[in-house]
């Protein structure tokens, strides 16, 4: 893992001291809320429905055990004993007191963490593949490049006041596990026929009220020019992105309105200019960073054998354990989605347990996934049973990865001041309806995603089944979407028709799954069947009762 140098540390420490002074002045009444609000937001501190909420950045979703343990300790010391892992691989605390915020940031800084740029119209925390450096299908480890992005984007003066927030994802595998094409910029590290590494740039994707899939803008940018190409992409956006209307201010709108070809032409023009300035980070810096991401000291000849005589363990291995590039090792996915639980929530004790497991069994590494789960990336297969037992004792052994129980849900109206409807109770009811693991496995891969408003933090556009909560004259109402998908075959969901109440949406989801079970061909996922047979059979089943009753 990357470790701060003295420059990184002093920068973060200085920011803590600055914010401490700002908070003191606010509490003393020396500055108004209008003056203070943009300052606290720059430090990830929102005011939500019930209290201040602090969003802590987890750079490209990667943590060590010391950092993870600190996240648990903060939950106990300053919050109410739990944290919420988000779809941007971050963690949020829901019950923060303003007076405590500087101390929390100081605690975070002591383990090389912060909340900088987790809000505001700037470049947010870069996200990445949670299996980076471990996946068997990986072409290039994206973490050194993600770290380069972190250093470039942090406090970048030119891009501190963009027209709107800006989200970047970077991956290095053929399989996209980071919803890359639904970001403002998605970068895929690829190799050409000569074996050279290049960056494929997807620009102008996003969800929110105007979901779009990013088109390819740069096919093969040399990695040492990645930063310059990003500068060019951002500069064109910063110059022409709309600041008159926040709903049209994201880069996706610019790319869409002027067209991908024209946007590409302008980026290439700017890129050519930037290249003349010699601004690229030196190759030695990338090499220095790569040094922090060397392969761990895997045990040679570690056994691939597993005793699967415990059926519950066998189910968990089959569902939650992923192939590792190193023989004898595996990637463990810890689901934060127990039956009827709150997706992404973990107690302080659970967080500390996962930290301990990482230290003892995973070369001191953890990852946060955009699906609101946790990963132990480098686990000896011989240790899997012990890990599973410890997870099981802590209610962390749900064997439902990528199944219908592995629901993504935003905090919704239970916590969020922007939300129009509650997301979590819907997730809980669906989770309980499909509690039987055999039933979940019969349905196979089925990604269900719930957002409590059009801002789409719950990624409902990309759900095989998506749910969007809306406010209908002061009453919660839920729209159902089908056919969304992230990854190589990214697609956007389509609304089935009129919305439902809280119980009705659960029934509608079940009816949709019944159509799938009745109509699927061999090997088809839910979304594959939907693509083959279209909306009509689903719609007919979902609204059949309402139609019959006239």
């Amino acid at each position: 893992m990357y470790q701060y140098d003295s420059y990184d540390q002093s920068m973060v420490d200085a920011r803590v001291a600055e914010f401490r002074d700002q908070v003191e002045r606010r509490l003393a009444g020396d500055i108004t809320e209008d003056q203070f609000k943009p300052l606290r937001l720059k430090n990830g501190l929102y005011l939500q429905l019930h209290a201040y909420m602090l969003r802590v950045a987890v750079p490209y979703g990667t943590l060590n055990s010391r950092q993870m343990r600190m996240l648990g300790d903060i939950a106990d010391k300053y919050d109410r004993g739990y944290g919420h892992f988000t779809t941007r691989q971050n963690i949020q605390y829901n019950w923060i007191k303003l007076q405590d915020a500087p101390d929390i940031l100081a605690d975070l800084a002591s383990v090389e963490m912060h909340a900088i740029q987790t809000s505001g119209n700037c470049i947010r925390n870069t996200t990445s593949d949670q299996f980076a450096g471990a996946a068997a299908d990986e072409l290039v480890d994206p973490r050194p490049y993600a770290e380069l992005l972190r250093q470039w984007s942090t406090f970048h003066p030119e891009f501190d006041y963009l027209p709107r927030k800006f989200k970047i994802a970077i991956i290095g595998s053929e399989t996209d596990r980071a919803a890359m094409k639904l970001h403002d910029i998605g970068i895929q590290l690829v190799k050409n026929d000569a074996g050279e590494i290049g960056c494929k740039f997807y620009v102008g994707g996003g969800m929110g009220r105007t979901p779009m899939i990013a088109p390819v803008i740069g096919d093969f940018v040399p990695p040492l020019q990645m930063i310059s190409y990003l500068e060019a992409c951002l500069r064109v956006y910063n110059r022409y992105g709309r600041r008159d209307n926040k709903y049209k201010a994201r880069i996706k709108i610019l790319v869409h309105e002027i067209g991908a070809d024209e946007y590409r032409r302008q980026v290439e023009e700017e890129f050519a200019h930037i290249l003349t300035l010699g601004l690229e980070p030196p190759a030695e810096e990338l090499e220095r960073i790569k040094g922090f991401f060397e392969q761990p000291g895997f045990e040679a000849g570690a056994s691939d054998d597993l005793d699967l005589s415990d059926p519950d363990f066998a189910l968990w291995v089959d569902q939650n354990v992923h192939a590792h590039k190193q023989p004898g090792y595996a990637i463990v996915n810890i689901s934060l989605k127990p039956v009827g639980g709150i997706p992404g929530d973990a107690t302080a004790d659970q967080i500390r347990l996962m930290a301990d497991l990482a230290l003892e069994y995973s070369f001191d590494e953890l990852r946060v996934t955009h699906a609101q789960n946790i990963v132990l990336p480098h686990v000896r297969k011989a240790d899997l049973y012990t890990i599973w037992q410890k997870l099981d004792a802590a209610d962390l052994s749900a064997a439902n990865l990528d199944l219908i129980g592995d629901i993504i849900a935003c905090p919704g109206l239970d916590y969020c001041s922007l939300a129009n409807a509650r997301s979590i109770p819907v997730a809980q009811k669906i989770s309980e309806r499909f509690a039987d693991l055999g039933r979940q496995r019969e349905l196979g891969e089925l990604k269900l995603k719930i957002s409590g408003c059009i801002n789409a933090c719950g990624h409902h556009h990309a759900g095989h089944i998506g749910i969007l909560g809306v406010d209908r004259k002061g009453v919660e109402n839920y729209q159902l979407l089908l056919g969304g998908c992230e990854g190589a075959d990214t697609s956007l969901g389509t609304i089935t028709g009129p919305g439902f109440n809280e119980d009705g949406i659960v029934d509608a989801v079940e009816k949709a799954t019944n159509v799938y079970l009745a109509q699927r061909d061999e090997g088809e996922r839910f979304v594959d069947t939907y693509r083959r047979i279209g909306m009509a059979p689903f719609k007919e089943a979902i609204y059949a009762k309402e139609t019959a009753n006239g």
């Binding site: 809320e33 429905l49 019930h50 007191k97 709150i342 109206l413 239970d414 001041s417 919660e476």
Partner: protein, 98 residues
């Protein structure tokens, strides 16, 4: 009726205007009357409350109930963590929110 709500600057807690000060219990909220904007301006100037606003509410047998679900959830706490709400001992506490 119209009542005034805001957030405690220091703690972020949801608070309600009682006519004399601020309470964490919505049942203490009072009709803000025609002077609501003046009250808000005066209280904001004290720098102890933030995000103040006037909202619609009704008085029921059980007490003051904000008209909009978002404000009712603010008044109670998250419906999915009643243990953290204002009525942690009442398993049915969420019912009056919906």
């Amino acid at each position: 009726m119209k009542i005034i709500t805001g957030s405690d600057l220091r703690t972020g807690d949801v608070i309600w205007w009682t006519g004399e000060g601020w309470s964490r219990h919505v049942n203490d909220a009072v009709e803000a009357g025609e002077h609501a904007e003046a009250i808000i301006a005066r209280e904001n100037a004290k720098q102890i409350v933030t995000d103040t606003q006037v909202i619609e509410a009704t008085v029921t047998d059980e007490g003051v109930r904000p008209a909009h679900i978002k404000d009712r959830i603010r008044a109670l706490g998250p419906t999915v963590r009643l243990d953290l709400s204002l009525k942690p001992a009442d398993p049915a506490a969420g019912n009056w929110v919906i």
